[in-house]
Amino acid sequence: MNPVNYLYLAALLFTIGATGVLIRRNAIVVFMCIELMLNACNLAFVTFSRMHGNLDGQIIAFFTMVVAAAEVVVGLAIIVSLFRTRHSASVDDASLMKL
């Protein structure tokens, strides 16, 4: 199969993730969309690795997975504590950082 199709899929997934980040208010959903974007990137990396015939892209994909795992831990902890204090998981409610 033509590897460029994987790139189209990655672009589609990334776009879906980005759109989700921009239009959804629920912090959990936003978080999931971010994961979707990360995985779209991973898919693109692996595809490029395959297309160029070296392992660089795969190695970076592993790095991304590690970082994503760490991010999930921290991010979920933040969302949980936010929900506990505000009884809401909406990202628009946490809008105090402005002039």
């Binding site: 980005a18 921009l22 990202v91 402005k98």
Partner: protein, 631 residues
């Protein structure tokens, strides 16, 4: 012997320090202490003078190096004194006349509770003036120059409770500052030109510098001299300086202060010799001032102001002579010395008259005082005869020489300058005769003052009359003593150089012309004031008279041109500052502020809107990258 030079200055300086810091404990003896130290300085001067006379004419200059003031590589400022024939002449004049004025002040200031402080200032004045004439370089001279300015400020404003005195002091100080700027610029120019400011190297290498530079230095020195010596255009302070006590006027006009400008020009003779343009300006300033002062002196009814106009005029003669170059330097100094005698005598006489007349200064309220104050009358009269140049008295010899030298300048300039000097002699005779007649002759015209106190004219005490008598003797004999065998010329020649001019008119003609004009001037004054009663209130007078009463509109001129001009200048500068400079600064701040106020709205706190800008930015970056690759 030369180690005594510093003591000359130290004595009055010590007096000033002790009297000004000593407090009330010294009130009882302060005036005698001040007089004693001034006298001590005079005695030291005489000792040094006799020592100097014992040496050959070429070896008379001695120096005393006290310490290095600012020793920096390439910039050496020393406190070194130089005593040569020129300084010696000034030292004797300053300390001699100065001591007599101290003695006189003991009597004159008897009833003033701040007499001790007055003597402290007098001593400071002497010390500063001695430093000025004894300095061996221009920088040290500048110190003395400023010291004289300070002391004159303190003394003119001594009765500072009178607003007029405080204003006069301020005026004298400010006008002098203008001249001081000239001196400081001249010293800087000297340093850049010659690399030093000591007299000997500067004056010896004056010829080697370019004429343009020397003219600039000369003109700046002239500006300085104009300030201190009250020459046009910086003459306006002298008349107002009469607000000070009368001994101060005598000191300023005879021994210190106004003579400093003449000293500076004569001392810098080598520079002026090499800069004929600057010399010409000096003579013009002198000629204009001698007529200016004389005309002002004619119109004043205040005895001290009439004498002040006279001083301005006589100093004009000296500056004129100093501008003539080697044919005039020595006569400038000779007139300075004889003038020191008779002008000090005249001022002390005026003070004595005021002392007896409840401090009345209006000559229209004097009259017939010769029988009440015989000693004052005789000494003042001798000073009067000396200043108008009566044959045989001091002024006759010195002024005659200056007029001759002015003619000897040659060409049209010589005729103009000589003519101005001759005319000045006639006007001098007129105004001095007027002062003499109004004060001592005619009917008595005094009236009770506002408090109803009738003045009781009386002779002043001995402590005041003795200095007047000594000065009168000097006024009579000094000129003749100097002139017999050209003593004074031989005395100063090694320092200033001397040249005989080629006068188009013979000396005899000049003398006769001077005497004829003297008789004419005195005769007109007699016809106007001696044959007719003097009116108690001055008549309105012609346009010229009224202008002369207002000092030939000098203050109006200064007000309109300098004060108004300065105000307009500052106002326009303030306007430019407010609109342009502040406008740019404020405009920048306001636009930055406004812009950031709008940019602030982007910071709305919503995480998703930040995400939009991040995505947007990233998209733009990617698009740009692709676009650049395509191109």
């Amino acid at each position: 012997m030369e180690n005594l030079i510093a003591l000359l200055i130290a004595a009055p300086l010590l007096g000033a320090a002790v009297l000004l810091c000593g407090g009330r404990r010294l009130d009882a003896v302060g005036h005698w202490l001040g007089t004693l130290l001034a006298g001590l300085s005079f005695v030291l001067g005489v000792v040094l003078f006799t020592d100097m006379l014992g040496k050959a004419a070429g070896q008379r200059a001695v120096t005393q190096h006290l310490f290095s003031w600012i020793p920096v590589a390439g910039f050496q400022a020393d406190v070194t004194f130089r005593l040569d024939q020129l300084s010696m002449t000034f030292v004797l004049l300053i300390t001699g006349v100065g001591s007599l004025i101290h003695l006189y002040s003991v009597g004159y200031m008897e009833h003033d509770e701040r007499r001790r402080r007055f003597f402290g200032y007098l001593n400071l004045f002497l010390a500063a003036m001695l430093l000025l004439v004894l300095a061996d370089n221009y920088l040290l001279l500048y110190v003395g120059w400023e010291g004289v300015g300070l002391a004159s400020y303190l003394l003119i404003g001594f009765w500072q409770h009178k607003p007029s005195a405080a204003t006069a002091a301020k005026k004298a100080f400010l006008v002098n500052r203008v001249g001081d700027m000239g001196l400081s610029i001249a010293i800087m120019l000297m340093f850049t030109t010659f690399g030093t400011f000591a007299f000997v190297p500067v004056l010896h290498s004056a010829d080697s510098a370019g004429e343009g530079k020397l003219t600039a230095i000369g003109l700046m020195l002239l500006l300085a001299a104009c300030g201190k010596s009250a020459q046009v255009p910086l003459q306006s302070w002298l008349g107002d300086a009469m607000e000070g006590p009368t001994p101060v006027s005598a000191l300023i006009h005879a021994a210190t202060m106004v003579t400093a400008g003449v000293y500076l020009i004569v001392r810098s003779g080598a520079i002026f010799n090499a800069a004929p343009d600057a010399q010409l300006v000096v003579t013009v300033v002198g000629a204009v001032t001698l007529l200016f002062g004389a005309i002002v002196g004619c119109a004043k009814d205040d005895i001290k102001k009439a004498l002040a106009g006279s001083t301005m005029s006589q100093i004009g003669y000296m500056v004129l002579a100093a501008g003539l170059g080697p044919i005039g330097y020595i006569f400038a100094i000779m007139h300075l010395v004889t003038h020191g005698f008779f002008k000090a005598g005249l001022f002390l006489g005026a003070g004595s008259v005021m002392h007896g007349m409840n401090d009345e200064v209006d000559m229209r309220r004097y009259g017939g005082l010769r029988t009440y104050m015989p000693v004052t009358f005789v000494t003042f009269g001798l000073g009067y005869l000396a200043i108008i140049g009566f044959p045989g008295l001091s002024g006759f010899f010195s002024k005659d020489k200056i007029i001759e030298a002015a003619f000897a300048k040659g060409g049209a300039e010589g005729w103009i300058l000589g003519g101005a000097a001759l005319l000045g002699a006639a006007i001098t005779a007129y105004y001095m005769t007027r002062v003499m007649i109004m004060t001592f002759f005619g009917e008595k015209r005094w009236q009770p003052d506002e408090q109803g106190n009738e003045p009781h004219p009386h002779e002043s005490p001995g402590v005041m009359t003795i200095p007047m008598i000594v000065l009168a003797v000097g006024s009579v004999f000094a000129g003749g003593f100097f002139s017999i065998g050209d003593r004074f010329v031989h005395w100063l020649e090694p320092v200033t150089g001397h040249a005989e001019g080629n006068s188009p008119v013979s000396a005899m003609t000049v003398t006769v012309a001077t005497l004829v004009l003297l008789v004419v001037g005195a005769g007109i004054a007699y016809a106007q004031y001696g044959r007719r009663p003097v009116l108690a209130v001055a008549p309105r007078g012609s346009l010229l008279t009224r202008a002369a009463r207002r000092d030939l509109l000098q203050d109006d001129f200064n007000h309109v041109v300098l004060v108004r001009g300065g105000e307009h200048l500052t106002r326009s500068l303030v306007y430019v500052d407010h609109t342009l400079v502040d406008g740019v600064v404020n405009g920048t701040a306001a636009s930055v502020g406004g812009l950031s106020g709008r940019l602030r709205r982007l910071q709305n706190g919503f995480a998703r809107s930040y995400a939009v800008s991040m995505f947007g930015g990233a998209a733009v970056l990617v698009a740009l990258t692709l676009l650049m690759r395509a191109v």
